[in-house]
Chain length 148, copies 2
């Protein structure tokens, strides 16, 4: 139950406290990040913002995303030469990607991750700091469509 307005305020505050300038381009970007449900990539954000701000540049998108990422307010999902971004759940969590409809789903309710983390620490004596977990397959919607 993510509240877009709260999220917007959080991102705003983070940039403000950091001493970063809150330009109209940046405000529009964090507005977009906090309200969009999906997991857009830089180009999608760019295309969307360009409607309202024809002079905005892709570099601005990337730079602001990097800023927010450094502050831990945005999660980068590193796919094959195509990073997508999550401004609503910035903590590392699994993603499910449908190979049929190409939607990206959050798998942030999976509890068995604890077990994996534990096993990795125990078996390999490896201290995990973060992870990137992507599962490819078919989502329930596409399964229904295909099955019948």
């Amino acid at each position: 139950m993510n509240n877009p307005e709260l999220r917007y305020q959080a991102l705003l505050t983070t940039l403000h406290e950091r001493g970063s300038r809150l330009t109209s381009h940046r405000l529009a970007l964090i507005r977009l990040l906090s309200t969009s449900e999906g997991h857009p990539n830089a180009m999608q954000l760019y295309e969307s913002l360009r409607l309202q701000f024809p002079t905005i540049s892709l570099a601005t998108i990337y730079k602001t995303l990097a800023l927010l990422k450094d502050e831990g307010e945005v999660l980068e999902i590193d796919l094959h030469n195509d990073s997508h971004y999550d401004g609503n759940k910035p903590y590392p969590h699994p993603h499910l990607i449908c190979t049929q409809c190409h939607k990206i789903f959050d798998g942030d309710e999976i509890t068995a991750i604890q077990k994996i983390n534990q096993e990795i620490e125990d078996r390999y004596n490896f201290q995990i700091s973060r992870h990137q977990l992507v599962f490819y397959g078919m989502c329930w919607e596409c399964r229904e469509k295909t099955d019948r």
Copy 2:
């Protein structure tokens, strides 16, 4: 307990049965893939092969890797704009990447993955076909060095 010679023969056979030409460049590449313990990227393979074959091109590396990947004999590990390749364990398995020494470790003995898979199928009704799981952190060697 991977036998490099067996692995080499397997890759060789795959390419042969596929009707692909077995040029000296390709033979050298699959030799390298089957004998190297690590997880090289295209540039590393290129630099290594160039010592013996000064005229080999990066595109040849990429093309042959794509071929082997299609045949399921090589696993691509997609890191941030830098794919690495595993010619010894071509099935999807977790990787542990040390943020200190940047080594890539295989986490192919982790049993809790079954639980995650099960949970994803149950909770999200999502049918997994493959995954890419990367855990970042500190390996046991670097932990020892750092701790004392």
